[in-house]
Amino acid sequence: MSRRYPEYDVQSKRGGPSWNDVTRQIVDARLAIPREPRFLDATQWTILCALCACVVPQPQNRPEVPLAALIDARLLADHGDGYRDARLPPFRQAWRIGLAALDAEALDRHAEGFAGLSRTQQDELLADAQAGDLVHPAWQGMPSRLFFSLRLAHDIAAAYYRHPVAWNEVGFGGPAAPRGYVRLGANHRDAWEPAEARPGAESRARELNRHVR
């Protein structure tokens, strides 16, 4: 559950005037994606699952957003960004190389695949990737820094913040057509927006959020 917006669930508005048919259907489809890999093989999949947990750690007290499945679905559809930095190979290839290279780096450093490392070891390796310090031949010349910022962290973070659970966490009003909003000023909230739990006013926020429709 969201810490700042207790009991706010953007999906409680699903049947109301903030969600049109097309939004309902495409969000439903996103929530229903298969949880098993369809593009990546078993080894790549376990590495990806570990990477997702590093880039967006999720709380234990709610069902997990299936980040690896969302990335796998994007790979299956070969949905790149529509452009790429010339130093990176195309979308699928960048992911394939990156997953294999991080695994190779882990084996080199700890004699254990990436998924088998401790979280601290994984985080350290990723920090080195972000700094551009990883140069194992398995990278095939792809700069680890760019893979990290333009593919790995970029794609995982985007997948997460396109999911309704993340909207609850950040207090985003979510889909808003056709109703839109009325109160635009600072500290003004429409009744169908998340209420923030200001210190001392948590139960009030909880109450308001229960009535969001």
């Binding site: 810490r3 700042r4 049109n20 048919d21 097309v22 939004t23 259907q25 495409i26 489809a29 996103r30 994606i33 590093c54 880039v55 967006v56 750690p57 969302l70 679905a73 994007r74 299956l76 559809a77 949905h79 790149g80 960004d81 529509g82 452009y83 790429r84 930095d85 010339a86 195309p90 985080d123 972000q130 910022s149 962290a153 970029h154 973070a157 985007a158 997460y160 913040y161 396109r162 993340a166 909207w167 966490e169 950040v170 207090g171 985003f172 009003g173 889909p175 808003a176 057509a177 056709p178 109703r179 839109g180 909003y181 635009l184 000023g185 600072a186 500290n187 003004h188 909230r189 923030e196």
Partner: protein, 552 residues
């Protein structure tokens, strides 16, 4: 993934059999005239965005026969636009492009559209005029090049476009020569815009409510804006006045045909060296449309790509390229921002993203250590876009990212649209890779010059000062970021140093025209769509005049 839902418009062309989608209805149609392939039409127009769509309407209304082509789909906003960042990527040009240079551009959802209506289907609606001096920046301000068009001429056409789009704007615009009243009243300011207002007041400069192409009152079949805030993913209410729901309905009424899902791959030239028509891919095969005139309006990457891809023995370096400038002088706007945190709940997802603006540094030249100017605007990024900024520009991931994202509703930001200088090394060329049609894809190389970087530094200092002035905390600068594309087929007075003349007519091939963001000789410090549409209106009037005088 929602791959199959609500994507029918991408699968088979809709505009055929004498009808086209009615954008004002969830499922309806409007009549559309059609033209045969083997009889030349007066104008074949490639692209239906700010340049091509506007020109199609004006030329059709002037009595010319017009067929306009767009590689993208013909959407019906009321039934097909979701409130969703991911799904709405269907509006963008996401065929592969390769980006290089010191500052490789971020394209895709950041930069260009692929739909009937072009990039205006997802633009943020900011509708600004150029500062008059910019049309003679070399002579009056000492940088760039002069435009071959006079500012007063442009101001006449700006007015025309503002009326057509029903721009909502302030009663008094603080900068530049007196301008006529905007047709619609300004929008209410959201908290994000009021933060800009206070930051400007703290710095002692003017600000105003942004002139926007979204309605503040009903108009014909379009309702006023409901402040849902998903503008850059497409407006599902039709409040946004885009080419899709303004110029194109006029084009159809005027007798133009618009072909959706029609990718033009090559412009043909005849033995006389003139353009004879376009080869386009639609419905799984290539077709040829004969035309007396061809207009290229594909925006500043696809336009030079098509001209270069149309090379032939007579024009081995591509069409209209005797100057060697096709693809060169690519310009963007620097798009840096200062961000900060405040105690107030801002909730910047409500309303169009940029409701307030300051053009102070476009009009004031005091103590600048750089050429050019910049505007800055209030912001309202949606969550995934905001997360991408945190990852890409700030390097956050892990718990730090999650914690930062939770501050979403308390964030304020000021973002520039900064002028960049034309440089020949910034260019669009052809890569070895090919797309699904077998056509070489674009390689886009971009690097800021020292002047661009000085402008950015000035802006960052100033904007951070503004945020400090309103007691924002945790202030940080987003130092990367660019927007908009201009300049790869510039207009000018001299065939040796420009690709087209003031009328958007190519110097080399007199029945080949270019009418979109590519023709800008300089970029100015304002968003380009109003200027592109004004140029298109002017071009249409000039074509009408020339036709009457028998000079076409």
């Amino acid at each position: 993934m929602s791959a199959e839902l609500y994507l029918e418009a991408l699968e088979t062309p809709r505009a055929r059999g004498g009808r086209a989608p009615d954008v004002f209805s969830p499922t309806g149609w409007v009549p559309m005239r059609e033209y045969p392939l083997d009889e030349p039409v007066d104008f074949a127009i490639v692209g239906t965005g700010a340049g091509g769509g506007t020109l199609a309407a004006k030329l059709a209304e002037a009595g010319f026969s017009v067929v306009a082509f767009d590689a993208g789909a013909w959407w019906r906003p009321l039934s097909e636009f979701a409130s969703d960042e991911e799904h709405q990527q269907k509006l963008f040009w996401t065929d592969e492009r390769v980006c290089s240079g010191d500052n490789p551009l971020v394209l895709g959802t950041n930069n260009s559209g692929k739909a009937v209506g072009g990039s205006t289907v997802h633009y943020a609606m900011v509708s600004l005029r150029f500062r008059p001096e910019w049309f003679r920046s070399r002579s009056l301000l000492g940088y760039g090049v002069d435009w071959p068009i006079d500012w007063q001429d442009m101001w006449h056409y700006y007015r025309e476009v503002e009326q057509v789009l029903g721009i909502s704007g302030p009663v008094r615009y603080p900068w530049g020569p007196k301008r006529p009243r905007y047709p619609y009243r300004q929008h209410e300011l959201n908290a994000s815009a009021l933060a800009l207002a206070r930051a400007c007041e703290a710095q002692g400069i003017d600000w105003t409510s942004t002139p926007l192409a979204t309605l503040s009152a009903p108009r014909d079949q379009a309702p006023p804006c409901v402040y849902r805030g998903f503008c850059v993913t497409g407006c599902s209410t039709n409040a946004k006045q885009s080419v899709l729901n303004t110029w194109l309905p006029r084009a159809l009424k005027g007798g133009a045909e618009v072909r959706d899902l029609a990718m033009v791959g090559r412009i043909e030239t005849g033995p006389d060296g003139l353009a004879s028509g376009v080869h386009y891919h639609r419905d799984g095969s290539w077709h040829f449309q004969r035309a007396r005139h061809v207009v290229v309006a594909g925006y500043a990457i696809e336009t030079p790509r098509l001209l270069l891809n149309s090379a032939c023995p007579r024009y081995p370096d591509g069409l209209a390229n005797s100057s060697g400038l096709v693809g060169k002088n690519l310009m963007v706007h620097s798009n840096q921002a200062a961000w900060g945190l405040v105690d107030d709940e801002i909730r910047w997802y409500k309303g169009p993203p940029s409701l307030a603006i300051s053009e102070h540094w476009n009009y004031c030249d005091d103590n600048k250590d750089f050429f050019g100017g910049y505007a800055f605007m209030s912001q309202g990024p949606l969550p995934a876009a905001w997360a991408e900024t945190q990852v890409g520009n700030r390097g956050l991931w892990g718990q730090a990212l999650v914690d930062e994202m939770e501050k979403y509703n308390h964030q304020v930001g000021l973002k520039i649209v900064g002028e960049t200088l034309p440089q020949e090394r910034n260019r669009v060329s052809l890569a070895d890779e090919r797309d699904a049609y077998g056509l070489p894809i674009a390689r886009v190389s971009y690097s800021f010059c020292d002047n661009d970087l000085r402008l950015i530094n000035h802006a960052m200092r100033f904007l951070r000062g503004g945020l400090e002035g309103i007691d924002a905390r945790e202030i940080w600068s987003e130092t990367e970021g660019t927007a908009h594309l201009m300049g790869t087929a510039r207009m000018g007075d001299d065939p040796r140093t420009s690709v087209v003349n003031a009328d958007c007519r190519s110097w080399d091939i007199r029945n080949l025209w270019i009418c979109d963001g590519s023709v800008f000789p300089t970029s100015g410090g304002v968003n380009p769509s109003l200027t592109i549409q004004a140029i298109a209106c002017r071009t249409a009037d000039r074509i009408g005049d020339m036709a009457r005088r028998g000079e076409l």
